[in-house]
């Protein structure tokens, strides 16, 4: 049994499109890959009670989140034949329209990558101790609620 190190998934602020492009680019040397599945979470400018969300501020119980993510990673890697798996989540302020969550899986045949990506997104949202605070234009806020 190989022991993998606990990886950091948190990045400060939003993820740029170029960060995602670099991540895709790096996989072009891995010629056993036939399919990549990517999920990107983007901050919505929702209007709540007449006030517009301008950004979400993310906080996490980082030490616990990274341990939980490590278990999820191990379980997903043992369930699906993946070549690669990458997860990034923003902390701090991410403006509306910006990317706050990036899940990227790759496999020889597409099914594994697609199913693993979906499972990761659902599990991370349900199980990781991360919180979003929706910041309004008038400097009030409301805690985000996941459906």
């Amino acid at each position: 049994m190989k022991e993998r190190a606990v990886k950091n998934i948190f990045v400060k602020g939003a993820m740029a499109a170029s960060f995602i492009a670099d991540s895709i680019q790096k996989h072009q040397a891995k010629t056993a890959i036939g399919g990549h599945s990517i999920f990107l979470g983007q901050v919505r400018a929702d209007t709540i009670n007449g006030k517009k969300v301008t950004a979400i501020e993310y906080t996490a119980y980082e030490a616990m989140a990274l341990e939980t993510m490590h278990s999820i990673r191990e379980e997903v890697l043992s369930k699906y034949p993946l070549t690669c798996m990458h997860v990034y989540h923003s902390l701090g302020i991410v403006a509306a329209g910006e990317i706050c969550f990036f899940v990227f899986t790759s496999s020889e045949h597409r099914k594994a990558a697609i199913e693993a990506c979906n499972e990761l997104v659902e599990r991370i949202k349900a199980e990781l101790p991360v919180w979003g605070k929706e910041l309004f234009e008038d400097e009030t806020y409301q805690w985000k609620q996941n459906k």
């Binding site: 979470g41 993310y58 906080t59 996490a60 119980y61 030490a63 616990m64 341990e67 989540h89 706050c100 969550f101 997104v121 991370i124 949202k125 349900a126 199980e127 990781l128 101790p129 991360v130 919180w131 979003g132 805690w143 985000k144 609620q145 996941n146």
Partner: protein, 76 residues
Amino acid sequence: MKVNIIVFGQLRDILGDQLELDEVLDIDEVKNQLHEKYPEMIESNYLVALNKKLVTGNMMLNDNSTVAILSAFSGG
């Protein structure tokens, strides 16, 4: 035993980022004391973590225990 408690998410608006409780021996006592002090918590859908693991049921505390109150998650 004195226990430090860290708080995350929406309940920070009520409990602050962290707090200290006196004379608690287990997780149930932590919850009872908090519910007494902050009755708004009772209705809230929070979880408790002991040493970075979710607690289901009751668990004894010791001097090295890290207790965390986790509001409903909203990452992603």
